[in-house]
């Protein structure tokens, strides 16, 4: 496209752990002994697998309660969305928006963007490659902020333990939500952004 050479043309490969320029036929980085691949092995298949696992876990994560609250005799169960709505109705719009972004918007963006990456790479699309590269780096950056809700539930449940007066316990939903975050992080890690640019050239294995 703009004439910058690819590593493949010089028969070299980048070590992702120590940035060493390895010879193309190396299986291990000569400097740090990590496995080296020209492209992450089975990147598309593995990313699909983690992405679909994440999507499946996302359903119970939203349907099951994440928190069980007992307050002076009355008890209630909260899902992620009902927690957000409770904040919004209580007047703390800022916190409601923050939690909504971290637990709903971020995972959904990750699903959509990773899906887009996988489909466009499989179709060997040359559409907006630079922008897709940026988009991928963006979701890599924001991905782990979804852990916010898990940590909030952990802190709150550890604090509010007044037997007889008020207790808060974590519930199964938070496990699935945490797994969604882990799965989408693994999906982003197994996706090889170099595949975006391979559409310009013939197959690299």
């Amino acid at each position: 496209m703009n004439g910058i050479p690819y590593a493949r043309e010089y028969k070299v490969t980048l070590c992702h752990v120590c940035s060493y320029v390895c010879p193309e036929d190396a299986h291990e980085c000569p400097r740090c002994d990590s496995p080296v691949h020209r492209r992450k092995p089975n990147s598309l298949t593995r990313t699909w697998a983690f992405l679909i696992a994440g999507l499946i876990f996302y359903i119970p994560a939203n349907l099951l309660p994440v928190m069980y609250t007992t307050m002076l005799g009355s008890s209630s169960e909260n899902t992620i969305m009902s927690g957000v709505i409770e904040f919004a109705e209580g007047g703390s719009w800022d916190i409601a928006i923050l939690i909504f972004i971290a637990s709903v918007v971020v995972p959904c963006i990750k699903f959509l963007v990773l899906g887009l990456m996988l489909v466009t790479c499989q179709r060997r699309s040359t559409w907006a490659m630079r922008e897709r590269s940026r988009l991928f780096r963006f979701i890599e950056l924001i991905g782990y902020w979804s852990m916010l809700d898990v940590l909030v539930v952990a802190l709150v449940a550890a604090l509010v333990q007044f037997r007889g007066l008020s207790t808060i316990e974590p519930r199964l939903g938070i496990l699935f939500f945490g797994l969604v975050v882990v799965m989408t992080m693994l999906a982003a890690m197994t996706f090889d952004p170099r595949l975006i640019w391979d559409a310009e050239v013939e197959d690299v294995r």
Binding site: H16, C18, I95, M129, R130, L155, L159, W197
Partner: protein, 232 residues
Amino acid sequence: MNSATPTPMTDIPHRQAHASEQPPAVAETQSRADQWIICEHCDSVYESIPLNKGEAAYCLRCAAILRRNHRLTVEQLLALSIAACILFIFANVFPVISISMQGLHNEVTLWGSVQALAQGQITLIALVAGLAIILAPALQIALLFWVLAHAHRGQIAPGFKMCMRTLEHLRPWSMLEVCLLGILVAIVKLAGMLDVHPGAGLWAMAMLMVLILLIAGKDIRRLWDELGVRPE
């Protein structure tokens, strides 16, 4: 980041290759390869050029950061990792939040919040949380201290390769900044129904988060070159 001037790198290898119309010989490639930078996001090759303080080099093809010039010396990194070690102990020993309600009092440490998740079916998520807010930062600090303390004396630490590889794999799982935001959200959440006081651990956490961002970034890879670790 301050003054991130895009420094386009020359594509000398490209021009040489085209001039000769022959791919370079493997031996020759390897000797010159030490001067090359490969973009990890698109596999473009650039010839490395020295950067000034605070400058960063960007990939011309995909706009990713190729390299940033480090502002901190090995001594400074070592000092910061010692500070991080002390702050880590404070952040874990002192409670991060304490609450009171009708004469009753309770407080929580980081470990306490991980334990709260370790109930029955959901224990798995306690492991993830424990890794993210306690184990990963602790290992990062310990390993950094180990390699930096030796690098300071110009030595390659025993187990250097393993330490550096572990640091690379730990980085995405260290989530102190998320934890800090979580503590703040929890404070606001509970403030509606009872008295909440931020604990000493919270301040230690806040400072620790900044230090981890400074010392545990990709920047640490430069130790490979600076210590002259050669491939066998």
